[in-house]
């Protein structure tokens, strides 16, 4: 009886692993063929490369401006996430800890952004940005991403409510200044919420194409993803090189995912998902 059970369990696992490989086949295809010449990719898409073939990667680095676009991606993502976290936490604090007409109004006011997706407003945001001369600048795009701060306000509100208030009250009585109170006492306690927020905002901003493609156009400002888009427009005939570029563009996020995997899956339960 026990033997039979174990046998079924092994069969089940093998089938499951095969199914998982089938599921991952688009990504396997991408990585596998980035190491093959284009002619072999067409002839035998699932065969292994015959030798260590790195031409595609050499060409990829020649066609794309990796370091500049990688730098742009890092700068834009980091700056937007920092703004979202700082401004969000700062705004959420008084809104949660005081109850008056102003804070009542504000908690509803910030909810509007939670319901209306930025993507639908792009045309109008575009005309506002043009008025203040921030089209095709990295700082302009950073501000557009950072306007998603309403989600952070919403998330921090829930979190602040769950922290006991006593310490803050006694600190105020002892004459602590508001900024001191916030940085020394409140912000460190918000760490779990901050971690989830940082992870999910990083993932979506890094991977975003909709906003970045409309707000950045000159080559010197392009992010990694836009650089890929540019290369596909220019040299899309040799797809094995394009696959190599895709692998390069994807790699930073893969590393980020592997490093943060535990927190990502934990964060999914706390409702941190929006993008």
């Amino acid at each position: 009886m026990l033997k039979k059970k174990r046998f079924y369990s092994v069969v089940f696992q093998i089938l499951l692993l095969l199914f998982t490989l089938l599921f991952l086949s688009p990504l396997i295809y991408m990585v596998l063929n980035s190491f093959k010449p284009y002619s072999q990719m067409l002839r035998e898409p699932w065969g292994f490369p015959k030798e260590l073939f790195l031409d595609n990667y050499v060409k990829a680095f020649r066609q794309m401006d990796f370091f500049r676009s990688f730098g742009n991606s890092c700068l834009i993502t980091a700056a937007s996430v920092v703004l979202i976290v700082l401004l969000g936490a700062l705004a959420a604090y008084p809104i949660t800890r005081f109850r008056n007409r102003i804070t009542d109004f504000l908690s509803v006011y910030f909810l509007i952004g939670y319901m209306v997706p930025t993507q639908v407003l792009i045309v109008q945001i575009f005309s506002v940005m043009k008025k203040i001369n921030l089209i095709n600048t990295k700082s302009g795009l950073i501000l557009v991403y950072a306007s998603g701060v309403s989600f952070a306000v919403f998330m921090y509100q829930g979190f602040i409510r769950s922290i006991p208030i006593d310490m803050e009250e006694s600190a105020l009585i002892d004459g602590a200044r508001p900024m001191q109170l916030f940085w020394k006492i409140v912000f460190p306690l918000l760490r779990p919420a901050t971690a989830t927020l940082v992870i999910f905002q990083t993932m979506w901003i890094w991977n975003d194409f909709t906003l970045s493609s409309l707000f950045l156009s000159s080559r010197k400002n392009l992010t990694l993803l836009l650089e890929l888009h540019q290369c596909i427009g220019e040299f899309s005939l040799d797809w094995s090189v394009m696959l190599a570029i895709m692998c390069i563009v994807m790699l930073p996020m893969v590393i980020f995912y592997l490093a943060m995997q535990k927190q990502i899956i934990a964060g999914m339960t706390s409702g941190a998902v929006k993008g």
Binding site: L90, I112, L121, E169, P178
Partner: protein, 293 residues
Amino acid sequence: MLNPKFFRKFAPFITGAFILYTILLIVPILLSFAYSFTNWDGYSPSVEMVGVKNYIKIFHSESMLSALKNSFVFCFFNAVIITLLAIPLSLVFNAGFKSRNFVRSAFFFASVPSVLIIGYIFQLFFGPTENGVINSIIGRFGLKPVRWLSRGVLPMFSVIFANVWRLTGWHACIYLARLQGIAEEYYEAARIDGASRRNLFRYITFPLLAPAMTISTMLIVIDGLKIYALPYSLTGGGPGYKTTFMTQLIIKTGIGEKMVGRSSAMAVVFFAVIMVVSLIQLYFSRKREDDVC
């Protein structure tokens, strides 16, 4: 609550977020209402009021009607298919076996690459010649190549397929989190009463997954309404308007064709749709959750 007399000292904390959010989100919302009654092109200083002409125009335009329909079809099929696949998958994730962590991460991994990249890869998979990945596989069985990205409903199928592939693992994790929260006692009690495995799922697991289902379907629909990069890189919105969705049409009309007025009217209509959809969804989900309790 803190002593109200301190509020004035803390109020400046709100300024940064308030200014940024107001200028880049609230003002654009108001602008979209205002522009929708004009014929503004986004550049010229002269603006004419045209009343509700834009609204009448868009409801008679083929592009708007098909984009609206496409967005609905896309969201509906995604919500149904992803839910049907993610719930069984979450049960597998929850079963005790050795390679389970690997399987979980592998399925979740599909949501890591940008949708733009996913679109490009699936473009190769659904390629129309015999060199297309799927066509080369079915070619081995003697079948003729299928024009996945141009024939009949197949382009829409391809976009939905790619999106389902991308999101199923992610949503299975949402269900998994909920499954792990169900107390073992329920199952024990039911087993003592002689419930079959099927009934355990039907009367315990499935009803208790209701809150996860609310979150999951809501996310699928909201994400589906915003979809832009995936059809952009997979089908380019074509052939014709067959896979053009609302976001793409709004952007194309407003920025590409410089008809800000008309594009704003589309955005306003789309807001209304989003509001109605979320309210309906909230109502039904709440009702289901209440029925469970």
